[in-house]
C-alpha cells in the first residue's frame, strides 16, 4: 500500500501488473526452506556415521540428530506465522489431498519427525537407562518414559537396537531427501515463474541443505566445545569440513549451471532473468551469494583442505568458512524465494522488496524464529547429553 499511496515512482521499473507489486511470500517463506534444509543437512551428517560407517564423525553423530530435531520442531512455525490461523493447520492431515504437493507436507513432515525421534531414542537408549538409574523425581520419570520403561541393555538387546538404528538411519536418508527435495519441488513446480520452474530446483535445494546442515554442525560443535573448554576432535572437524567442501562444490556448480545454461541457451525468459539478476538482485545474488559467500569460501576450502595449516588457524578457518556458507544458503533462499517474485508476470518489469522491522513477518519475527531452534536445542541438551564421554 505504501507504494500505491505515496505516488512516488522510485521502486518499480518498467511494466509491472498491479497484482505483482507486492511480494506475498516474504521472509517467513525464506526461513522455511532454510530451517528444513538445516534439518536435512544435519541428518545427513549423522547418517554418514550410522549408515556409511564413517567413524571419524562419531563425536558429532548424536549431536547432529538433536540439532536436526531442534530445527525440525520449529520448521512449521514460519509457515504458520505466514498463513495465520494455525488452528486450521491440522485440516491438511484430516482431509488428505493426494494430488496436491503442498498438502503432502504434513505427512512428509510427520513421518520424518517420527523417524528422527525414534532414531534419537534408540541411539540414546543405553545412555537414557544409565541416566534413569542415576536420577530422581521428574527427571527419572522423563527418562523412564523415554526409555520406554525398559532397562534391558544386554548385548542381545543392544544388537537389536543397532539393527533398528541402521534401518531408521537408512530410511531416514531418503526421507530427509524427500522432505527437502519436496520443498525445492514446491518452487520448481511453479511453472509460471521462470526462475523457479526448473527440475534442478529440488537438487539445488537438497545440496544447499547439506551445506547449511554441515556448516551449522561444525560451527556449533566448535563453539560449544570452546565454551565448555573441552578438547576438540580435529579428525572429526576435518572429515566434516571435507564433506562440506564436496557438497558445496557440487551445490555451487548446480547453482551456476542453472544461471549459465539459461544464459548460453538464451532461453525463453532469459532476458527477464538476466535483468533480474543484474538489476534488483545484483547485490544479493552476484555480490553476496556468488562472490562473498561462495567464491571466497571456495578459496578458503582450497587453502584449508589442500595445504598444511596450523591447528588453531585451521579451526578458525573452518568456523569462518562455515559461517560464510550458512549466509550463502540464507542468501540463496532469499534470492530464490523473494528474488523470484520481483519479476512481474508481464515479463517486462521488476518490483522491489523492503523488509520491515515490526511487521508480522518482519525482521524481528525472523530473528525470534531463528533463535527458537537454539532454545529448543538448549532444553534438549538438558535431557540428552550432546557429547560422548571418553568411555563411549
Amino acid at each position: 500500500m505504501d507504494v500505491l499511496s505515496n505516488g512516488a515512482v522510485t521502486t518499480v521499473s518498467n511494466f509491472v501488473f498491479p497484482n505483482d507489486l507486492h511480494v506475498h511470500w516474504s521472509m517467513m517463506i525464506v526461513l522455511y526452506p532454510y530451517i528444513t534444509g538445516i534439518v536435512a543437512g544435519a541428518f545427513i551428517v549423522s547418517s554418514l556415521y550410522h549408515v556409511f560407517n564413517i567413524k571419524a564423525l562419531k563425536p558429532v553423530s548424536r549431536f547432529s540428530l538433536l540439532f536436526a530435531l531442534a530445527f525440525l520442531a520449529c520448521a512449521t512455525l514460519p509457515l504458520l506465522v505466514h498463513l495465520g490461523h494455525p488452528e486450521r493447520s491440522m485440516n491438511m492431515m484430516i482431509t488428505p489431498s493426494p494430488s496436491s504437493a503442498m498438502a503432502g507436507f504434513g505427512y512428509i513432515y510427520a513421518l520424518y519427525g517420527i523417524v528422527l525421534v525414534l532414531e534419537i531414542l534408540f541411539i540414546y537408549r543405553p545412555k537414557l537407562v544409565q541416566l534413569q538409574a542415576g536420577s530422581a523425581g521428574w527427571m527419572q520419570k522423563i527418562y523412564t518414559l523415554l526409555s520406554f520403561g525398559s532397562d534391558n541393555v544386554t548385548p542381545e538387546s543392544l544388537a537389536l537396537d543397532k539393527k533398528i538404528i541402521k534401518f531408521l538411519a537408512a530410511i531416514g536418508i531418503p526421507m530427509a531427501c524427500l522432505l527437502h527435495g519436496y520443498v525445492g519441488f514446491i518452487f520448481g513446480g511453479v511453472k509460471a515463474n521462470p526462475t523457479w520452474s526448473t527440475p534442478l530446483m529440488p537438487v539445488i535445494f537438497l545440496l544447499s541443505a547439506c551445506v547449511s546442515g554441515i556448516s551449522g554442525i561444525i560451527l556449533l560443535y566448535i563453539l560449544t566445545k570452546k565454551y565448555r573448554r573441552e578438547s576438540l576432535n580435529l579428525e572429526c572437524i576435518k572429515t566434516c569440513f571435507n564433506y562440506l567442501a564436496g557438497f558445496f562444490i557440487i551445490d555451487f556448480t548446480f547453482e551456476m549451471l542453472e544461471v549459465f545454461s539459461h544464459s548460453y541457451l538464451r532461453s525463453g525468459y532469459h532476458h527477464m532473468v538476466e535483468g533480474l539478476l543484474n538489476g534488483p538482485l545484483y547485490i544479493s545474488f552476484w555480490v553476496a551469494q556468488v562472490f562473498m559467500f561462495s567464491v571466497v569460501p571456495l578459496f578458503l576450502f582450497g587453502w584449508l583442505c589442500l595445504t598444511r595449516v596450523k591447528d588453531r588457524l585451521y579451526i578458525l578457518g573452518t568456523m569462518v568458512t562455515s559461517g560464510l556458507l550458512l549466509l550463502q544458503v540464507l542468501y540463496m533462499r532469499w534470492n530464490v524465494v523473494i528474488g523470484g517474485q520481483l519479476m512481474s508476470k508481464s515479463a517486462r518489469g521488476y518490483t522491489e522488496f523492503h523488509p520491515q522491522w515490526f511487521h508480522k513477518e518482519g525482521i524481528i519475527t525472523a530473528i525470534i524464529l531463528m533463535s527458537l531452534p537454539f532454545i529448543v536445542l538448549f532444553f534438549l541438551g538438558k535431557i540428552f547429553p550432546f557429547w560422548l564421554e571418553e568411555s563411549e
Binding site: L4, S5, G7, A8, V9, T95, R125, F148, G149, S344
Partner: protein
C-alpha cells in the same frame, strides 16, 4: 493377583520389550490419527470433490452486500446527472463509498456511507491513477505521479485531487475552466518507457 501379573508383564524388560512398546505406541498413534480424521473431518467433505459439499449451499445462501449503480442512483439524482456523463461513468459507486447494504436494508436507511475527504481522497484516487501501476492502459486511465503532476499544473503540492477534479465527473470543471480561460489543450505526452 491377576492385575499384578499383567503389571509385571507390562513392566518387564526383555531384550525387545521396548521395541514392542514402540510398535504398540505407533499403532495407537495411527488409530488416534484415523479416529481424528473420522471425527473432525467436516461432514460433507469429499461428497462432490476435495471440498465441503455443503459450502456451495452456504455460499449461495449468503446475504448479498453489494448492489449495482442503478440501485444507488435511484435516490441520488444529483450524482446520477453528473456521474453518468463523466469519465467515471463505469466506476462502481461502492468502489469508493462501500457496500450498499451498510446503507440500505429492507428499503430503510440503516447507516451513512463513507465520503472520503482531504488526504484520504488522494490515497483513494491513486488506487487507480498512480503512475506506479504501469500496467494500466494509459489511453483509458490517466495515471499521474505526485507531486510532479501538481507541479506541472502549477498548483500547491498540498492540493488534494478533488480541489480540481469533481470526483463524479473528473474532467467536467477542468474542461470548463480551460474553456473560460481559453487554454488550448496540449497533446498528452506518452509515458516514459
Amino acid at each position: 493377583m491377576h492385575i499384578q501379573s499383567v503389571r509385571r508383564y507390562l513392566l518387564q524388560s526383555n531384550h525387545n520389550s521396548h521395541v514392542k512398546r514402540i510398535i504398540v505406541g505407533l499403532l495407537v498413534l495411527a488409530v488416534f490419527g484415523f479416529a481424528s480424521k473420522l471425527i473432525f473431518a467436516p461432514a460433507t467433505f469429499g461428497d462432490l470433490g476435495h471440498y465441503r459439499a455443503k459450502a456451495i449451499l452456504e455460499e449461495a445462501n449468503l446475504e448479498p452486500r453489494l448492489m449495482t449503480n442503478e440501485s444507488c442512483l435511484t435516490c441520488h439524482q444529483h450524482e446520477k446527472r453528473k456521474h453518468l456523463k463523466g469519465t467515471h461513468k463505469t466506476v462502481s459507486c461502492e468502489f469508493c463509498h462501500g457496500a450498499y447494504f451498510d446503507h440500505i436494508l429492507d428499503d430503510k436507511k440503516i447507516g451513512t456511507l463513507d465520503v472520503k475527504k482531504g488526504e484520504e481522497i488522494r490515497v483513494l484516487c491513486l488506487r487507480c491513477h498512480n503512475k506506479e501501476i504501469q500496467a494500466r492502459p494509459t489511453d483509458k486511465i490517466k495515471t499521474v505521479a505526485l507531486p510532479q503532476h501538481l507541479e506541472e499544473k502549477r498548483v500547491r503540492t498540498t492540493h488534494t485531487c478533488d480541489q480540481c477534479h469533481y470526483v463524479h465527473a473528473p474532467l467536467e470543471y477542468v474542461n470548463l475552466a480551460k474553456k473560460m480561460m481559453r487554454i488550448k489543450d496540449e497533446p498528452e505526452k506518452e509515458p516514459c518507457p
